[in-house]
Amino acid sequence: MFHFSFKSLLGVVMMFVIFSGNISAQDGAKLFKQNCAVCHSSHTSQKITGPGLAGVFDRAPKGDWINKWILNSEKTIKSGDAYANKIFAENNKSAMTVFEGQLTPKDIESIIGFIKGPAPVVAGPAGATKGPEGEGEAVKPGIDPLFFTLGLVVILAILITTFRSVRMSMQNNANRVEGKPENPDVTFFEEAKGWISGHRRLVGVLCIVIGFMGMKSCWDACFDIGVYYDWETQKGYHPSQPIKFSHKIHAGDNEIACQYCHNTVEKSRHAGIPSVNVCMNCHKGITKTANAGSEKEIGKIYAAAGFDVASGKYDDSKTNPLTWLKVHNLPDHVYFNHSQHVVVGKLDCANCHGDVKKMTTVEQRAPLTMKWCIECHRKTEVAMEGNAYYDRLHKALKEKYKGHYDVKFTVDKIGGLECAKCHY
């Protein structure tokens, strides 16, 4: 909870100092994200579609030129404004969206306020955006622990053998000097055996410890190959994905709606894994964040999309689809339709997927067993009011349960437990 680093603490204090009493900068950040971030970087000079906005207030003509430009850039260009035409030409003559009617002057003011302010600390370990559970640990670069351990073992083994032979020869030397008989030339194993029989209790405890450690590592290894916490239900399955994509950063900290990426959830049986071009909508500009290793991970998107950051161009011949690991697996003999549950049943994603907004690595929270489906179907009421499809059924049900006290028209009452509703 209180693991605030000095830097982040400073950030919070700074922000507090600068923006106290200026709530519009918070709105500005949000508005910028919604309207501008696809084409502009707010605090760097990196060019996305439009130029980076660092230092824009020094470059651009003073006065309310910027406000006019934002509201209707086309008009400004047509008016023959020299600077407007210059940057229009500089940016391959791609016109900026006209925001007249979409943004109020006050909105623009707050956006400008945001741009003028200090660079926001992008989601990551920085305190300002850090979740209370501190889940979003950064990726530490370094040696793979396995190689590290193996290396240690090898070094230890070499040391032990060396020390043993040194000790033996020294002891024998001493014995020779003292006139005692030399130690018998026992092998390492014989000696070890002797030592073990002398330290049975210690060896026993060690064995148990090593045994447990072995079991633990097997257990952990099982996760990677898909043997799960709950072997019956796969609940808790959280495979490592080809990109260390964090739902927490995207859906949680940045409040991107689930449907933005999983955009077929209301149309299809599949919620849909976003295609790489959806990632590129934002990541064309966001090349790195404050998180360590973010550049490498975001780079994987560019590699998949065939995008060259330096030139800002796509090369269709270099695309390379990403292979994600499916977390929520239903057997082939089940037909499940997302749109049925999201559109008709009006269920929230979190109902089945848990609080994804807090998950760095997505894991399966619901057991996804038939029992679980049925339990939910037994207790979930069907929203029949206002949906003309259900009118006839609703009438018939009311007739059937006339006089019953407190009857709920749950999914099972309209055939939600029938086999062929999901198996065909």
Binding site: G226, S268, Q340, Y389, I414, G415, A420, H423
Partner: protein
């Protein structure tokens, strides 16, 4: 979104060691000594019970271990998702099916970019949203593993550059002939013209394997133009067919079946239907549906037509023709008089059609229709078909030219003459004499195997094209998938037109060329859209275009700009705008050529009657499944039971049962399926073919189906199945005759086991419970109770309708109550539904052997019943021995009446299968459907035993993985698997399956309604069988919805349920078949005896 996973269960599998591969396919590690065990010989064999248990124990453990998989599922999203693709949601694209044989405007259902189903395009006025078995099955040829993946030069794969070089050199060297089947694409014709313009020594010859040359010639004789007329069966009150299978295979059967059924939608309010007379030698699908069918020898078709001509001529005051009109079947001769009388009575509303490829016959038929004033009404030679353009003489001349060495380059496209030409023509030998042989075949078939260069064409689902099937009707073909075989993985296929354009030096691809051609020549014919872009977009969306004034599309070379690109210059026609506004009815009779030739009917008659028949005449026919054989590598069509004989995976001689008996061949009485093999020889060609006794076959004639006997190693499904009937085609009067007037048949000692899905032929006196029929006269005159009586049950309160008696409590169907009804009057048994059902529901094909063990997997079958001469009453009258009555009842009549009855799961509301399932794997839904849960099923098969309709199918093998079925089951091939419907589970070994009434479509339709917050619209949900049906004989809907079509069908007095006396309360109902015949179908006697019987039981109860 595609997923793939690969696991291995041990190093041996990873390395694919031979031991593993062997073990992997067998259930047990070593063969179980079951026989010895059961014989009590374990002592002797040295295998003790202990060993047995050990083996069992080991295999149990092995199975448990094998199940320990690590299900890491992968998901690979698009890099850039195409806008129109939503994973999990199907897209439909309008396109056109035309393979040189059948035409249909279709919608292609694609899932995640791969076509998975073909459905009819309801906007089409040529195919009316209907499909046929062959059209439905055509999707599988896209995923045929035999398809070539690149150009083949001298038998091995090469590059396009190399192929183009060889062709380029060859076409400069001498005479080039492009041999194609009928081309109905105006743009393709223009492309051929481009090629001809570039290489002036080129000739285009059209050759149809199943030729309609005589029809073209006859129309030239009578109307001065060699075209094939179109027909309006829906306007005909009397239809006469002479050897013309217009419901199954002739010309454009999809449209004809649709039109024909429109004349047969009979109800109490509108008790009118067409009357159909049919004359033929083989029992065809059309003959089986005729109200009256007469048997005529093929050599006498001409005589029958001449007789009919003379009768009509004398009744209408026209001149008679001279010719022999004596028929060997007196019944047919008598019928001609009756038919002629009726035709003349319905002058202007009648139709005579013949399928004989004989100029004389067809000229006379034209003459009859002309005398009957049918032109412009039921026959239309102005808005003619373009489907069949071949002139047989050109083909015969071509072979002569080839033999004479006059052809240096021969390009064959969409035809396979080495396989389909008559043996007497010796095309193969002539082909060898051609300098450079170029084929555009998609597979290595008989012709392309011999070709020097094979430039594989794209599949029709991968191609752009257009079609002009009938004057004034256009349709577009668009690719629904990128060419499967394309760079960089393969050298790739290339569309025929693109190849020709490349060789003509036109610097445009075919798509651009097509658009340009449409802008210049089709766009100006319409006035609805003023700019070409929206015209193109809308036409592509609809798939079809009908213009009001049909002009010939010129076959011209297009003007090109300096870059070699075609110039687009067409503008919308202002004339057409006016007509479009006023919606003028299509002028049909107005445009009559000014000067008509004077047809010489006497010459035609002498030509038609000149054929002399021998002891046995051969009539070669097309099967519903295989047609001309261009799709014979398709296991769905190979396994499709012939609608008449019900035999699968075979062709055979059909012979009249009397002839079979006389020759001492196996009569295959009752349920015997072993036939005798006979030697058939015609003009020196001799083959051994099994003989199948076929009721309705004219004695003295035999039939043999086309499309079998393929001789191409790559066509794994078709190679070596049956014999090639094309050999026996006969050329006379410059036309290809489908048969031979004189053949010899000799018996051999060999026998052949047939695989048939139905081995019973007659209904055995159970008409009332299963197959209710009535004549139109009785239907009109008698009360419903007499021809469709309610099934009664004897209770202690007296007789009550069975519908009121119930052993079980009824459950309310509060929301939907699905129902399906089948109009047996409309059903023609064409089997489009059977194939559609299989495609939609991933039904496995099982191969010949399994079918002979009655293990076919069809969820929907069509039962075919022949009438029998014997019945109980007749037997009692004639004092036939009791047992003999039943034996005779099993034997069909010589020329039986035929009834088709599609049977699928009847979804009984009191289902007998449900009560016997020990694990509740089959249960009933609140919407009235019988549900089958595969994962619960343990395979006891009690349900199948208890099913009164025998519609349950058991998976005896894992058809999708077992190597026994590798060739017959497309699901086993990497590519073939693509055709599976992703919404339906692929069943595994040991489970029962059956019709789900397309549960996936019902659920999808309900979901659409729920999302739209509106009730389900009647007709929005269609089952696959209903969708495919060309005659609208199947109706599905919500019976609870009072305004639905199905509710109306249920209220129809013809409605009845199968085996209603069992009290199982089926969800599927049938509408009584009405036959337009004078003779009563009902037997007064039968009802009386039954009543007597019932009285007796009453007495007993008393």
């Amino acid at each position: 979104m595609s997923m793939s996973k690969k696991y291995w269960r041990g190093l041996s599998e990873l390395n694919e060691s031979p031991e593993f591969l062997k073990q992997h396919q067998t259930e047990f590690a070593e063969p179980l000594p079951i026989d010895e065990f059961l014989n009590g010989e374990e002592e002797k064999s040295g295998t003790s019970r202990r060993d047995f248990l050990k083996v069992m124990g080991f295999s149990t453990a092995a199975v448990a271990l094998a199940a320990c998989e690590t299900p890491v599922n992968k998901a690979i999203p698009y890099v850039v998702k195409p806008e129109e693709v939503t994973p999990g949601v199907a897209n439909f694209y309008a396109s056109t099916f035309y393979d040189g044989h059948d035409y249909a405007s279709v919608l292609v259902k694609t899932r995640e970019g791969r076509p998975v189903k073909i459905e009819g395009n309801e906007l089409s006025k040529v195919s009316y949203g209907a499909t046929s078995a062959r059209v439905q099955a055509s999707i599988l040829s896209l995923y045929d593993g035999a398809r070539l993946v690149g150009p083949v030069v001298k038998g091995s794969y090469s590059t396009w550059k190399n192929a183009d070089e060889i062709v380029g050199k060859a076409i400069g060297s001498g005479n080039t002939v492009i041999l194609t089947s009928s081309i109905i694409s105006p743009t393709t014709k223009a492309v051929v013209a481009e090629f001809t313009a570039k290489h002036p020594n080129t000739k285009h010859v059209t050759y149809d394997a199943v030729s309609y040359s005589a029809l073209n010639a006859a129309n030239k004789n009578v109307f001065g133009k060699a075209v094939v007329s179109s027909y309006n069966f829906n306007k005909a009150k009397t239809i006469v067919g002479i050897a013309c299978d217009f419901l199954g295979t002739w010309l454009n059967p999809i449209e004809f079946a649709n039109q024909y059924s429109k004349t047969r939608k009979v109800s109490k309010e509108n008790p009118v239907m067409s009357k159909h007379y049919h004359f033929e030698a083989n029992m065809s699908l059309t003959g089986a549906n005729a109200d009256y069918r007469y048997m005529v020898k093929p050599s006498e078709y001409g005589k029958a037509v001449t007789a009919l001509y003379n009768e009509v001529a004398s009744a209408t005051g026209n001149a008679k023709v001279s010719g022999d009109t004596k028929l060997s079947n007196p019944e047919s001769e008598k019928a001609i008089l009756k038919v002629a009388k009726e035709l003349v009575e319905n002058k202007g509303n009648s139709l005579v059609v013949s399928g004989a490829n004989d100029e004389g016959v067809q000229t006379l038929v034209n003459g009859i229709n002309k005398m009957l004033d049918n032109y412009g009404k039921t026959v239309d030679h102005v808005n003619h078909f373009n489907l069949k353009q071949a002139n047989d003489k050109e083909f015969v001349d071509l072979v002569a030219d080839m033999n004479a060495g006059k052809v240096s380059v021969l390009m064959t496209c969409n035809c396979n003459p080495v396989y389909t030409s008559p043996a007497s023509l010796k095309f193969g030998d002539a082909y060898k004499k051609v300098g450079t042989k170029i084929s555009f075949s998609q597979v290595l078939d008989e012709t392309s195997t011999m070709a020097d260069v094979v430039c594989p064409d794209n599949h029709y689902l991968e191609s752009w094209n257009d079609a002009n099937p009938r004057a004034g009707h256009f349709s577009l073909q668009q690719p629904t998938i990128n060419p499967i075989f394309s760079a960089p993985r393969y050298e790739g296929t290339r569309q025929f037109q693109d190849s020709l354009l490349a060789w003509s030096g036109v610097r445009s691809n075919y798509y651009t060329y097509l658009q340009a051609y449409w802008q210049n020549h089709v766009f100006p014919q319409q006035g609805k859209y003023l700019d070409f872009a929206s015209f193109w977009a809308h036409t592509l969306h609809d798939g079809v275009l009908k213009v009001n004034i049909a002009k010939e599309i010129p076959v011209v070379v297009m003007a090109k700009d300096s870059a070699g690109m075609p110039i687009m210059s067409g503008v919308a026609s202002l004339n057409a705008i006016d007509t479009a506004k006023t919606e003028v009815a299509q002028p049909t009779t107005n445009i009559v050529p000014e000067i008509l030739p004077t047809p010489d009917y006497n010459k035609a008659a002498s030509m038609a009657t000149s054929v002399k028949g021998g002891a046995f005449e051969l009539a070669v026919y097309e099967k519903i499944g295989l047609g001309n054989g261009n799709q014979s590598n398709n296991p769905w069509l190979m396994e499709l039971p012939d609608p008449i004989s019900k035999v699968t995976w075979d062709n055979y001689i059909t012979m009249a049962p009397a002839d079979v008996k006389a020759m001492g061949l196996n009569e295959m009485l009752r349920q015997d399926i072993i036939g005798t093999v006979a030697t058939l020889s015609v003009n020196g060609v001799t083959v051994n073919v099994p003989v199948l006794p076929q009721p309705g076959q004219m004695p003295g004639t035999i039939g043999l189906a086309l499309g079998y006997g393929r001789n191409a190693k790559n066509l794994k499904v078709a190679d070596g199945v049956g014999v090639n009937a094309f050999w026996f085609l006969n050329i006379s009067n410059d036309t290809i005759q489908f048969g031979s007037p004189s053949v010899t048949i000799t018996k051999t000692e060999e026998t052949h086991k047939f695989s048939a899905t139905q081995i019973q032929h007659t209904i055995m006196g159970r008409e009332e419970a299963i197959l209710r029929e009535v004549s139109l006269k009785e239907f009109k005159e008698k009360e419903k109770e007499e021809w469709n009586p309610a099934t009664m049950m004897q209770t202690h309160e007296g007789k009550v309708p069975i519908a009121e008696v119930d052993l079980w409590k009824d459950y309310p169907r509060m929301n939907h109550k699905w129902g399906l009804s089948i109009d047996m009057t409309s059903c023609i048994g064409c089997a489009a539904c059977v194939v559609a059902c299989g495609v939609e529901n991933n039904v496995a094909t099982v191969g010949k052997l399994e079918i002979s063990r009655t293990r076919d997997m069809y969820w929907l079958r069509i039962d075919r019943y022949y009438s029998s001469d014997m019945n109980k009453e007749k037997g009692a009258e004639e004092k036939v021995a009791y047992k003999q009555i039943y034996l005779d009842m099993e034997t069909p009549s010589n020329n039986p009446k035929v009834t088709f009855q599609p049977i699928m799961c009847q979804h009984c509301n009191h289902a007998p299968c449900e009560t016997v399932c020990p694990v509740l794997a089959t249960s009933h839904s609140g919407e009235g459907l019988n549900m089958m849960t595969y994962n619960r099923c343990i395979g006891t098969r009690y349900c199948a035993n208890n099913c009164p309709f025998k519609v349950r199918r058991f998976n005896w093998f894992n058809y999708n993985a077992n190597p026994l079925f590798a060739n017959v089951n497309p699901a086993q091939q990497e590519l073939g698997r693509m055709v599976l419907n992703p919404d339906v589970v692929v069943r595994s070994r040991g489970v029962m399956e059956k019709c789900s009434m397309c549960q996936q479509r019902i659920q999808a339709g309900k979901l659409e309604a729920k999302k739209a917050m509106a009730p389900v619209v009647d007709g929005a949900i269609k089952t696959a069988c209903q969708q495919a049906c060309p005659t609208n004989a199947i109706m599905f809907g919500d019976v609870n919805d009072e305004n639905s079509e199905i509710a109306k069908w249920r209220a129809n007095e013809r409605n009845y349920f199968l085996l209603e006396d069992l009290g199982v309360k089926p969800t599927v109902s049938y509408l009584v078949k009405v036959r337009n015949q004078e003779e009563p179908v009902l037997r007064e006697e039968g009802n009386k005896t039954e009543e007597k019987h019932e009285e007796k039981t009453e007495e007993k109860h008393a």
